[in-house]
């Protein structure tokens, strides 16, 4: 996207949202509220990706992080007794160690030679469209990712079958294999 006044304003808006929500997420006492603040922070990041013309990454940010991870956290908070209403105590020591850790990470990021980071970005790399990603996944040449794409299907299959097996309700007293043939999965 061309850098115009609008994109500049949007950039500062999104950045402010990320910083504000991020601060809220770690300072708010109620765990449920901090999960929702985290959601805002992730929305801001998605907005930044959109400004960079990376719509696929923005989409994944919303689908995976907001739709998946944060919702999962909220479920966990709500299903766990009283975590949504009871405040978690945060001691001074925890504050100090958290701030120290953040300072160390900030220091590391600033320490990394900014010249070196320039090599990380390919200047003539154009925006990646969703089509291009799809074609690349199904490309059998050395440039594509056909094999990992196929292997992921085996991975998902084994994970799903495994999860279904250990989650299956078992009648007490029933021997293992006979129970399966009954098809009483619940």
């Amino acid at each position: 996207m061309e850098a115009t006044l609008t994109t500049d304003i949007l950039f500062y808006l999104f950045s402010a949202a990320i910083l504000g929500c991020g601060l809220m997420a770690v300072t708010v006492k109620n765990l449920l509220h901090s999960a929702i603040a985290l959601m805002g922070c992730l929305f801001g990041t998605a907005g930044l990706f959109l400004l960079l013309d990376h719509e696929f990454v923005a989409l994944m940010q919303i689908l995976v992080y907001i739709g998946g991870v944060v919702i999962f956290i909220i479920y966990a908070v709500l299903l766990t007794t009283h975590l949504g209403t009871r405040y978690l105590p945060a001691s001074t020591l925890k504050y100090i160690s958290g701030v120290t850790l953040a300072a160390i990470v900030l220091g590391l990021v600033l320490h990394i030679d900014p010249q070196a980071t320039h090599t990380a970005v390919n200047p003539d790399r154009t925006a990646t469209t969703i089509d291009a990603i799809g074609y690349r996944l199904l490309d059998g040449s050395t440039n594509g990712f056909l094999i990992p794409f196929e292997v992921i299907s085996v991975l998902l299959l084994s994970a799903m079958i495994g999860a279904a097996t250990i989650a299956k309700h078992q009648k007490p007293g029933a021997t293992n294999d006979e129970d399966e043939t009954g098809g009483s999965a619940s």
Partner: protein
């Protein structure tokens, strides 16, 4: 696009997984039990033979997937460990008329299917030519293990699975984070490009390298990433423990070698220091931990941490590193499985503590002898395979240009320390008289015929690997040296 012959093994593994899963869900109970169990271990053995038969002379590629000659002995190790793990599950499957102290596996068919899937994942790791395939392979090798660890219906099993899941996810997060930095520093995920663009003066590259190594360190249970091992070894079902201890380690090492001689090749000298550090603390912490264990599986976990230290020592060496690690792994897998077969027989009716193993030589001379040979091999006593395995590792670290003599001296001291605790096990099974309390409650030990046969074959294999030079040079030829 023609398929390279070496790729048939990967396809065969995928097909075997499908066959097992379909037989498990479609066939009648009697036929199913025969096909799922015998089909799986025979299939894995055949795929192991196929791996050796189709071993390529040079690298064979299909698209982005590369079958390298040196990975063949590693693939053989995966197949052997998979087949042995299936055989080890025999007394935990229903329909054998056998009962186990901890009950039977929730679903034997799914358990066996997951072993094969995990083996396929390890094959994918060795074939990876870019970071994406590498990551997917590692995940396919690990995720089935989380499920398998929960396959028994007791609290220990669930606890082991939950711990393994959390630690495993953490290590994956480390790996992915590292990969993102490698991509940033090297501008590609492809190993060939990364091998040229990842140079030692890039800070970014080092962040990536450290995180990826930490992620793989968790899989290897190398210190300081080892703290999960004892709990999970103790809680998971015995065949899964044996599989995690052998195959999962072998896959992690194959992946590590792949990275060290691939994308990280320009970082050589500095990487050697990292491996030296990891080797030294793994050996020390592993040995100190193993000294004070009372339960056999926890003891094996600590001993495996120490053993990984010796392997990492070889990685500081030159060209001999790959074949010597391959040979060592084969011997280590066999030695480990002998121990787990014996302890699995014992554990079917008593907790696997050292005090329960006292007087084993009188109750079952065969099991006692097998465990003795396994312990001698793990400790590295000639003429067993374990001695030559360790010898090769020491030799690799002393290669011209990589002469780490202080490291070798340190490792030799640690090898002596490890001798002490392996001998404690031998003392318990042969010399210490069982107290009345130890022995009175324990019924006779039952060994299934298939497991007895496997034990005998494994013991012969470990002696042959130690005394017959041709077996030794065969592995070295396979690994391309």
């Amino acid at each position: 696009m023609t398929l390279p012959t070496a790729l048939w093994t990967d396809i065969a593994l995928g097909s075997l997984a499908c066959i097992i899963l379909l037989s498990e869900s479609l066939l009648g109970p009697r036929l199913r039990k025969a096909i799922v169990f015998h089909g799986a271990w025979i299939g894995l053995v055949l795929i192991g033979i196929l791996t050796v038969c189709t071993a390529p002379e040079s690298e064979q590629a299909i698209g982005n997937y590369l079958i390298r000659p040196w990975t063949i002995p590693f693939r053989l190790c995966f197949c052997i460990a998979g087949a042995l793990s299936v055989l080890l599950s025999r007394n935990l499957l229903s329909g054998t008329g056998h009962t186990h102290r901890r009950g039977l596996l929730v679903s034997g068919g799914v358990h066996i299917f997951l072993i094969i899937c995990s083996t396929l994942g390890m094959f994918v790791v060795t074939g990876a030519q870019d970071l994406i395939t590498f990551l997917v392979g590692i995940e396919l090798a690990t995720i089935p293990l989380y499920v398998q660890a929960a396959m028994l219906r007791d609290d220990f099993s669930s606890e082991a699975s939950a711990k393994y899941l959390i630690i495993g996810s953490l290590s994956t997060a480390f790996t992915v984070f590292g990969i993102s930095y490698l991509y940033g520093a090297g501008n590609s995920v492809h190993f060939d490009t990364l091998a040229q663009t990842l140079t030692a003066d890039k800070h970014f590259a080092w962040v990536g390298v450290i995180f990826v190594l930490a992620g793989i360190g968790f899989k290897l249970s190398a210190a300081p990433f080892h703290m999960w091992a004892p709990d999970i070894y103790d809680g998971a079902p015995p065949p899964v423990t044996a599989y995690i201890a052998s195959s999962s380690k072998a896959a992690g090492l194959a992946g590590l070698i792949l990275l060290v001689y691939g994308p990280f090749q320009q970082l050589g000298a500095d990487l050697e220091n990292i491996f030296m550090f990891l080797a030294i603390i793994s050996m020390t912490i592993g040995n100190l931990g193993a000294l004070r264990q009372k339960r056999f599986n926890r003891f094996m976990a600590w001993s495996s941490v120490a053993q990984i230290g010796f392997v990492l020592m070889a990685l500081t060496g030159g060209d001999l590193a790959i074949p010597s690690i391959a040979f060592y792994l084969l011997v280590y897998i066999i030695g480990n499985f002998i121990a787990f077969f014996v302890v699995n027989c014992l554990a079917s009716n008593r907790p696997e503590t050292f005090s329960n193993m006292r007087g084993l030589s009188k109750q079952s001379p065969l099991l006692a002898l097998c465990l003795l040979i396994s312990m001698f091999s793990l400790a590295g006593i000639p003429p067993l395979g374990g001695f030559f395995g360790k010898f090769e590792l020491f030799l690799a670290a002393a290669q011209p240009g990589h002469e780490h003599f202080y490291l070798i001296l340190f490792a030799a001291i640690n090898a002596v320390v490890s001798l002490y605790y392996y001998m404690i096990v031998v003392k318990d099974i042969y010399i210490t008289e069982p107290t009345h309390a130890d022995n009175s409650t324990c019924p006779a030990i039952a060994i299934l015929p298939s497991q007895r046969l496997t034990l005998v074959v494994l013991v012969i294999a470990i002696i042959v690997l130690g005394v017959w030079p041709a077996a030794h040079s065969w592995i070295f030829t396979l690994a391309g040296s």
